[in-house]
Symmetry: C2
Subunit: 472 residues, 2 copies
Amino acid sequence: MNTEAQEVEKKVLEKIKPSRSDEETLKSIANLVVNELDKFKQQTRIDMKISVEGSFAKGTWLKTDPELDVFIILPSNYDKEFIKNELYPKLRAWLNDYSPIEQYSEHPYLTLQIHGVKVDIVPSIESLPGAKIITAVDRTHLHTEYVKRKTDERLRDEIRLAKAFARGIGVYGAEIKIKGFSGYLLELLTIYYGGFRRLLEAAAYEWVPGKIYIDIEGVSDPLQAKQAFGNPPMIVIDPTDPRRNVAAAVSMEKLSEFIMAARLYLSNPKEEFFFPKPLHPVEKRRLLGLAETFFENVVLVELRHKARLPPDTLWGELQRALSIMKNILEKNEFEVYRCDAWSDEKEQSILACLLSTPIKTKYRLIKGPPIKEREHSIRFIEKYLHSPFLGPWIVGDRLYAISVRKEVLATSLIEDHLGEILVSDLTDSTAKVSLLSWRPEIIEDEEIGEWILSFLLGKPKWLWALLDYQKV
Amino acid sequence: MNTEAQEVEKKVLEKIKPSRSDEETLKSIANLVVNELDKFKQQTRIDMKISVEGSFAKGTWLKTDPELDVFIILPSNYDKEFIKNELYPKLRAWLNDYSPIEQYSEHPYLTLQIHGVKVDIVPSIESLPGAKIITAVDRTHLHTEYVKRKTDERLRDEIRLAKAFARGIGVYGAEIKIKGFSGYLLELLTIYYGGFRRLLEAAAYEWVPGKIYIDIEGVSDPLQAKQAFGNPPMIVIDPTDPRRNVAAAVSMEKLSEFIMAARLYLSNPKEEFFFPKPLHPVEKRRLLGLAETFFENVVLVELRHKARLPPDTLWGELQRALSIMKNILEKNEFEVYRCDAWSDEKEQSILACLLSTPIKTKYRLIKGPPIKEREHSIRFIEKYLHSPFLGPWIVGDRLYAISVRKEVLATSLIEDHLGEILVSDLTDSTAKVSLLSWRPEIIEDEEIGEWILSFLLGKPKWLWALLDYQKV
């Protein structure tokens, strides 16, 4: 038994486990919301049940991360259209005093902030046992039941540790921005392995990405399931629905990061894995000063959005734009170290790629056809005979030539291709392309400065825990 | 029938076909040499036959390229050691007045220059029919017999065209410097196809490198032969010895160049394919001026040799050095466009590589292990956590980091590795590493200047024929 780890986990639990008074506070907020919705039901006369779900209902919520999920459950004869066109607009108007924020997953829902607690109000449709589920959230109630049934007080604390760990290392959340581990996934994994430490040990020593298959209740046929799910990094069968992979959102990166973080935590348990140490502003300044060498290797696309998009939509498009941008750079032989996006999720976003160099040589090597392709090889010679006058020549049985590069600057290249990069909802945004070295003032914004630093450092947050700042 | 080509070939033949008086001149030189060797035989009392072989004996020599091969043939009970230790030193002393140049293939031989004609004097051992051949040159007599028997006056002219074409496009010669087509190989190919034009057509439209198998007399078993010869670019069975591939020396490049040149000649017949136009000095200056942009991308190793080596040995080592040099540059992520060597074959040689850039960024991307390699991945993180402070990070299931490059300059890199590059007989040479831009004065030497220009242009000589200098 690792007593050092025990000590760390005890301290962490003290910080994350809600007290009786925390419970009371959340309960009173829940009651407030349920009352509001009851009044809404009476006023609209829509047939609905109101139900508190999620980690609060399951008893697995974190004191450091209080949140409530309140579900509006419509009878099974309703459909998504009704939610979207009838229920949602009325609900939004009804809750206007709480300044609701519009969210969107499969259909719209609302987020309120009440006394610092995030409250999601989620309309859904009841799914009858055995019938086809209409929206993903309709399973929530089944999930709540399952987790409550399979856990006791001890296991709920273990789940809290798992969630705090995942949050600390930056892999908590199934949303597109993160592509990590959902709360329900961490609950199932902790239940399956019987505790937090055993979960980490499994991740560290047993998990092989692409070969993880977990079916707690043995409700699925592994062969059939693997076929149905394609080849995801990990498969965790939903015990309430064998057709569903609870880990479907988990990206290869986040899974790998979880595995590596588990290995490093087990050999070097530190509270910083759960609570990444915020950088002292002086230290941040110093590191940004060091990182300044790389400012001229960062291509930025600064976006101003005309319309506000739901976060999942926005992040989906930012990530798509990022991947097109990376592709264009690589097709033009820029060496791309890393790309990332930042957004205030309101009106401003930034795409960034770190390159080995933002300026390429004027000339580039063209690999021509093998000489056995007769027509093609003669055309190649004709094409490159005079321009830019070096080559063509033959190596082995293949033709080569030197050609002139159209764009030697990464920034000009990206500017020329903005139309390809900004598609769908991003076409409306205004975009400004530059190198970070031309725009050092953007790091004055605290949030952007922190993101730039973390982008340049490149390390996942769990490595910051091991980083000795004095050494860099 | 392509009359344009006919016209070109007629003009070429007028230039390359020896006249009766050319014949007489060469014959008298042959007699002179044979007489000298007869006297040598009488003086030394070594049992030997003296025989004039090669293209003069076969009637396939070029007026523009007069040369004689005179063989000293020892009876079959002699061995290579005797040639090396007894015959050769005496022969050399005997011919001292002709300033003989020492050459070396399987054993030493001598080259004389008499009235501008190159005369090779080659000791060999008679091979009895059916017995194992002792040295490669022992087959020469059989070759002479075969070619004389299979050709008439017309076919000998066709062979002359084939040789002049191969010489013009720079693929004539089996020596290591060229790795091209020997005279005997071109004789066999012309005999096989019945003429020069038909040979070019076969090369242009039928030959696929690696799949050329020619056995004029049908003396070999193709399956067995292919196994015995490995997988060379082309196989041409020696009609006098089925165990020998006459095309063994032909490199993939020279074969490919022959094929491409044949295609371009057939569609655009020009005398320049046979006689590359020498550049007007003014034009050469102008092109070198244009090429100056690239001088800073050429890494030079200038060598001064202590001892003079036989050309084949020297070129073998220069090419080996070149390939090691290219490897070291590429392992350190320099993009190498092309490498080549020049030598005066006496005391001075130059190795050169053309790079996309001679300076790399200070930082380089390191591809680490996949995270499923547990120990390896933890060691990787420990190694790169602080140095140079960017990374490590994860893409997919693999670790990456940024590291500091030891050498950012191609010249320093090559200097650090000279010990690996200059091996065997080259270790004695003094070496100076520089960029061509630091040493522009070396192009003042006419021969080196011409080589540098041709190195930078990169085009094989047969492409110069198509080049419109006005356009570059």
